[in-house]
Symmetry: C2
Subunit: 293 residues, 2 copies
């Protein structure tokens, strides 16, 4: 997906959020803002939004010397999600459709995203999880079920810390043995990296790989050779979150995108309202199609 004009004010706002998260020094915050404004004035709009976000956060780490400004937030939401895990696992087990329940909870967990909204709260996460099983699911659950029935080698692309604990529930439903989980190669925003996969208990459950990139999405050109190997040999890819959707929506791969709609640009692109739980089939590079189930 290209970068839309509406993404640009949002980049600037995200920069300010991230600058404040990274340093208390207003002089440094100002320098970051000015740098990003200049970067944005020259950016290629044909690139996807995470390509710009990657640059912003790299500059931010460089100027502040803070390599992981969201470390505390990530730990906090991992802990919150782990507290909720036993109860949610029971809910899934007792549901008439455990796979759908796990899909919904994993999508709901995608609310824990400090990109679109810099002040996501624990209450936001609790409320979204509480409504996950009742709120509409925009997408073709039957198609997803068929795809997962057939798949022997699933690549599961995580998005955020905290959310990754809910991803574990879906990985459990899919059967961990056939699932490889991928996380970001380095900290960026509150995206999940290897230590979050460890905290979520995923490394003990199945194979977890790094994608080798510090973009908040899956910029294939920036990913490692090892990640490419998995990406091109998996027979099904499950991609969580807006960032993975923005970077992979035009890839000719057998991919399902699972995310919460958190901005108007994505709402328009996914034909689903703000706040919607979306399960979108990539159709091997054709334009995405959605139905309401």
């Amino acid at each position: 997906m290209k970068t839309y004009f509406d993404c640009i004010p949002c980049f600037v706002r995200q920069t300010l959020d991230a600058a404040r998260m990274s340093t208390d020094d207003p002089t440094v915050q100002e320098r970051i803002l000015r740098d990003v404004l200049r970067l944005a004035s020259e950016m290629r709009l044909s690139d996807s939004p995470p390509a710009m976000a990657k640059q912003i956060h790299a500059r931010l780490r460089e100027l502040t010397g803070n390599t992981d400004p969201y470390a505390t937030v990530k730990k906090r939401f991992n802990r919150l999600a782990l507290e909720m895990l036993p109860e949610l696992r029971d809910k899934i087990a007792n549901d008439t459709d455990p796979l759908q329940a796990a899909v919904r909870l994993s999508i709901a967990g995608n609310i824990i995203d400090f990109g679109p909204k810099g002040n996501t709260t624990e209450q936001d996460a609790r409320d979204t999880i509480a409504h996950a099983l009742d709120a509409p699911l925009h997408g073709d659950m039957d198609a997803f079920r068929r795809a997962t029935d057939e798949a022997e080698d699933i690549l599961y692309l995580c998005d955020n810390a905290g959310e990754i604990v809910f991803d574990r529930l879906l990985v459990e439903q899919l059967g961990a043995a056939r699932v490889t989980v991928a996380v970001r190669g380095a900290p960026v925003i509150n995206d999940a990296s290897m230590e979050d996969a460890q905290a979520a208990g995923l490394t003990a459950l199945t194979k977890v790989i790094s994608n080798g990139s510090d973009a908040p999405g899956t910029l294939l050109d920036d990913c490692s050779e090892a990640f490419h190997q998995h990406f091109h040999t998996a027979d099904l890819i499950i991609a969580k979150g807006q960032g993975n959707f923005e970077t992979l929506s035009e890839e000719p791969a057998n991919v399902f995108f699972l995310f919460k709609v958190k901005c108007p640009v994505i709402a328009a692109h996914a034909h689903a309202p703000l706040g919607a739980q979306v399960l979108l089939q990539g159709h091997r590079g054709l334009s995405p199609k959605v139905t309401l189930v």
Copy 2:
């Protein structure tokens, strides 16, 4: 008031709104966005927000050749307000406190502002006016009453088109003979200029002057000599809207600021919540103080 970091994402968003209002050509919209991002990367934060907005809108007019992109919107809201005028004039006449009722309606009219919110609707205006007399008024109405009782020469600084019709109701209450009304020197956003004063019937009622500037506020350095004359000899200044507050809040003048709080920066600066109706005394250059009445 200086420009806060939080104003900067808002400038970029306002630029996009204004670019779309000015031209349908995405190439021109993109050029405007890039120009403003570069301008913003170099701006002086010690300047007030309307100083930057003045530059943005000048560049926008230059690039699009559209000298008054908000002309249609301004006419529409002038017409809407004029339709409501007779009924509101009756309401004021029948109120136990006609001056306060006129103050409240003139503040409520300040909702018609395409700066902070690019898609202000007629319904927004109708709803805000409908609640104006019941919603709290943040400020010292008694101090305002005393100031207007004493004043012989009042300078009334208008803000927006549409709103200016509600200003007429307050000018009528104050007694038009002692009031000079000032409007912007040229079109900028949906701010009121001389033709809006004419449409509102103010030119037939009292003396209306231009401030000689195209900033969406009162940047004294940018105003005409004639305006300065009025500004420095008036014994009371009534300044409408956030832009006039942002540019004059530190001036050592006998000024009351009347506005709706439409952004978090102003909410913090005016110690009043978003949406509040504010009547703030300038205290001749001292820091502003508010009480809830």
